[in-house]
Symmetry: C2
Subunit: 308 residues, 2 copies
């Protein structure tokens, strides 16, 4: 049986080349004609591009997301009559690069030394190593676990928060949400990696944000909805000791006139902590396609009820 594939990404040309190189058996890559939406049984797609077209996807059986986050496909009215798989395993290392790049730049005072270089000034300053600092990770999935492993390599204590509170490898300690306020007060670095869902919306509320320790660094690389952004902005205004490094926002792009762009103790990046590199995505797709043909269970299947 020949399967018909629809590509829906912002890098379709790149994906086409990679798929043609693989020459997957019995897979026909449909062209961009609107009729393709009705004909394809397999979609390889970015969630935000796929979501509005799903009502027309009469033959859709399997959608392989090119992203980890599939919340755009999981609204209350969304279809659930197909198999949805996402991307796992490739984002942890990229997000670790992002987190430790900014964390080390901060702890090792790169900005201070940049300013001193401009003045030709040789002046060593005291600092605190990452060793023995505490990192709290919200989310203990493949991304959170990978970042925790990096943190342990740098001698940090790692605490993870998940729903169950059950122990998980790569964390020194696991807590559940009821212990979150205390954990926020104890952590030197807080990293949110949670997916968007009803349970995670504004999990970092105004009240909890106020618990942050003196000098804390707060990363958001999960979803913008996890933080009450207005409360965070107020906190940053009143507490210059806190630094927020934000890669995701409730509305993306963050509007050009938003005051947060000009907040000194906020670092804003345009959702770049872990882009989907097409080559890696296509490898995962190819592997799943072979499973699909053999009627084996797909890897990284999303549970429509849990939301990840």
């Amino acid at each position: 049986m020949v399967h018909k594939l629809l590509l829906l990404t912002r890098e379709n040309c790149h994906y086409q080349t990679l798929l043609q190189q693989l020459a997957l058996p019995e897979l026909m890559l449909l062209d961009d004609a609107p009729t393709a939406i009705c004909e394809a049984d397999i979609w390889l797609a970015e969630p935000a591009l796929a979501a509005p077209l799903l009502p027309l996807a009469h033959k859709l059986q399997w959608l392989q997301s090119t992203f980890a986050g599939v919340d755009k496909l999981l609204t209350s009215k969304s279809r659930q009559d197909y198999q949805l798989s996402n991307i796992k395993g490739i984002f942890g290392p990229l997000m670790s690069e992002y987190v430790f790049g900014y964390l080390l730049a901060h702890c090792r005072q790169q900005q201070l030394y940049r300013e001193q270089q401009q003045q030709g000034l040789w002046a060593p300053a005291a600092y605190r190593s990452l060793q023995n600092q505490t990192m709290l990770l919200l989310g203990t999935g493949s991304i959170g676990s990978h970042i925790a492993t990096t943190a342990q390599h740098f001698g940090m204590k790692t605490i993870g928060m998940n729903r169950s509170g059950r122990p998980t490898a790569s964390f020194h300690q696991i807590i559940s949400e009821i212990e979150l306020a205390q954990a926020l007060a104890d952590a030197d670095v807080v990293v949110n990696t949670l997916p968007a869902s009803a349970a995670t919306t504004e999990i970092l509320s105004a009240e909890r944000l106020n618990c942050l320790k003196q000098g804390a660094l707060l990363f958001n690389i999960g979803r913008g909805s996890a933080i009450n952004l207005l409360a965070l902005h107020e906190l940053l205004l009143s507490r210059p000791d806190v630094t927020a490094i934000l890669d995701v926002f409730p509305q993306e792009p963050l509007p050009a006139n938003h005051d947060l762009w000009r907040q000194n103790n906020a670092i804003i990046t345009p959702h770049i902590s872990a882009p989907s590199f097409p080559k890696q995505v296509v490898q995962i797709f190819a592997d799943n396609y072979q499973r699909w043909r053999c009627q084996q269970p797909l890897q990284y299947l999303v549970d429509f009820n849990r939301g990840y």
Copy 2:
């Protein structure tokens, strides 16, 4: 037998407090009077402060350096009639923080996103992850090995250069100096961790520096003498694709009027990649002191002939 200890550091007060807390048996901490130099049999000292006073150190038997680099005590005319130990094991993690802080800041385009934030501009840019990049480390001792371990954690290929060319754990490949030019041409990131010695002086000569790969990053966290600084400066002028991150220099402080301060593709820091934290140094000293009392071999003894 009571031993008499002379402290010679820029943080004597801090060291005094730490030593008093430990209350090491039969150890008398001499005060700062000039006569202490003649009386002490044990010195806990910074090499540069100790070197000019050694001719007066009539009772010196053991000098515990507070630094890893002891080249100031190893000139051709230096005394060799005492035991010299240095500090090992604590600098690798600190230097890894330094190297990966600057490496990730560069690869993940922190400067670009800082500028875009100032303009309120949301514009993701393409980048290359550390994964599959090649790091060449000059020196495969405890510092080089630790940095290589971090590099492997980030998915990099690690090549080490040492005298023997013998395989060493934490490196994918080991080369000897005759293969250095080719290795420089292949490496995305080059990190010098070598100590100062006749064999390492200007090991990165003008000719070898010219081998550096397009877009290469060159770190010097070993000793300034390892690089022909004039040749490096000329290279940076003619090749804006190369970036040098320099923490050590032939003359320190780097003179305020040196042109390198204003070189755009040079990052200059004031020898801060791995300061000796007194608490860690005192732990190593205390351990060695117990060995000394029991006439056991000291840890981290320096070979006056090898120079490390």
